[in-house]
């Protein structure tokens, strides 16, 4: 899968405050995302969840030594090297002005493995087909990507990330555009890939019930600071959640899983 099997993602006293912003977006965030887990980044809007992902993707310049991939500063990676370790499912894709087909878009994720003049091989097509089958988009692989609905696009982006064959997948609210069936489908696929040890995942999420059901670790954030980290059952408590969200919760147990109900009026 990858030439770097023990690549952990590590934030090391990461503080981020762009010039002209009064309070830091991230302050002193330290956490090591462990291999073999599906870790949720949880927190209210503006708590810095996406910003953490963007640092690992080097979309934001980080201080030296603050963001490490496999022990090496994230910024020291060439884009092509990094893209063999991290794939990214953005919240929504910038649609291209060009009429690329779904298959074209998914195949783009083979770029990290291609020489300049190399064309897509049989193997690349096979990998892309398999990924498209996994997320149920194979039927419309010849359709124009721009003509798809939000949910269909989201699934194509996940197929693209799977096609990239990376030991890590970073997902930014992957279920936000999906109906409930596809929400479950996507989370289940990612969970299965993690269980198979094919990949490890970091997921920015808002839905407690999805986190409870699929993620085994949680990083709870508020105002750019880590409030709690650990196993899902230890972090997702009424105490911590109401402190962070300033909303009270009821928790109902069913089949060994907990369901979270926010209450009105605090």
């Amino acid at each position: 899968m990858s030439d770097t099997p023990n690549t952990e993602l590590q934030a090391n006293h990461l503080t981020y405050q762009p010039s002209g912003v009064t309070s830091p977006i991230l302050s002193d965030v330290s956490y090591t995302f462990l291999k073999g887990h599906m870790t949720a980044l949880l927190g209210p809007n503006g708590s810095g969840k996406t910003t953490i992902l963007r640092h690992f993707l080097s979309q934001i310049k980080s201080p030296d030594g603050a963001v490490l991939i496999g022990g090496k500063d994230a910024q020291e990676y060439l884009p092509k090297e990094r893209s063999r370790i991290l794939s990214w499912v953005p919240q929504s894709s910038n649609s291209s002005e060009n009429a690329f087909t779904v298959e074209d878009v998914v195949l783009m994720a083979r770029y990290p493995y291609k020489g300049t003049w190399e064309d897509d091989s049989e193997e690349d097509f096979r990998i892309a087909d398999e990924a498209m089958r996994t997320v149920d988009v194979l039927d419309f692989k010849k359709r124009d990507f721009n003509s798809l609905s939000g949910g269909e696009r989201q699934r194509v982006l996940i197929a693209r990330a799977l096609t990239q064959k990376t030991p890590w997948i970073l997902l930014d609210e992957p279920t936000s555009n999906l109906d409930v069936r596809h929400q479950l489908q996507i989370m289940k696929i990612v969970r299965e890939k993690v269980d198979e040890k094919t990949t490890s995942a970091v997921v920015v999420m808002h839905d407690f019930n999805m986190v409870e059901r699929y993620c085994d670790r949680v990083v709870l954030l508020k105002n750019g600071k880590i409030v709690a980290t650990g196993e899902t059952k230890d972090v997702m408590t009424t105490d911590l959640l109401s402190k962070v969200y300033e909303v009270d919760f009821d928790i109902i147990e069913k089949d060994g899983k907990r369901l979270f109900f926010p209450q009105e009026g605090k």
Partner: protein, 352 residues
Amino acid sequence: MKKGPLKTWTLTVAGGSLALLLVIVVIWAVAVGSVSVPFSQSARIVAARLPFVDKEALLNGIPRSNKLIIWDIRLPRVLLAGLVGGGLAAAGVVMQALFRNPLSDPQVLGISSGAAFGAAVAIAFGITFTVSGISSIWLFAFAGAMLTMLLVFRVARIATSRSVTGILLAGIACSSMLTAAITLLMMWNHEKLEQIYLWMLGSFSAATWVKVGFMGIVLVGAVICFFLLGRDLDLLSFGDHEAQSMGVSVKRTRTIAVVATSLLVAASVSVSGIIGFVSLIIPHIMRMLAGPKNRRLIPISLLGGAIFMIFCDMISRTAVPPHEIAVGAITQVTGAPFFLYLLWKERRKGEE
């Protein structure tokens, strides 16, 4: 390539047909003009210059004057039109990918205005000399284009880190400034107004073999760069962040592409003046044929641009003899309505 062998096959046929059409248009274009040379003679005169042919047999019975007209006057002109047309079209493809905007074309970088300003300075101050086939007006135009390019990049870098918008804004600003300067030059030099104005409209009437060679070298260099970056440009159309997450070195790709495009446009404008809309419409039409992938679109656009420009230049020479219509006027007359159509289509898409 498995993505439908049919599609690749049709594309090869389309490419082949365009190449054939280009050869026919070249021979046709050199045959017509104030002195009409029969099609068969012009074909033989052109063919006689190819390697490994029996020159004597081919040229037998063709008047010397026809050979001169075809070889020394018309052929360089036709080839230059083809090279410039192909180059502008390829530059347009790359610009549209880089700026993620179907309406961007090399003129917005201000390079064309820079070239026009350089030429206007040379004409207005009467700086006219020729060194081994290279005229001062051409030199000034090229220098003007390059200086504008450097200025635009410099300003864009200082102004903002968001390089794309920065370059576009700096280009537009420089462009209007230079156009105003050209207008002033024309007002102060009434007697040269027509000459400057004609240059701004674009023409291939001053074509020489030296210009053909120069343009050919720049075009080959730029097209090699575009091909190297073909895949990167495909990914870049999804925006910098997504492209980077899939492994594209965004900054390097942008730098190489912008510099190669600028050199190509600077060279084109310096040999022919400002010829608008080719770089805008040809990529759009060819995209319908070749699809969005840049490695396919670029060669098809090269051929399409060359055919279109040679055809327009032929009209410019032959429509109202003995006068010439500026070729830029012809490309604009055909291009502007198409531009409006694109805007209209965009708006409809927004309303849906």
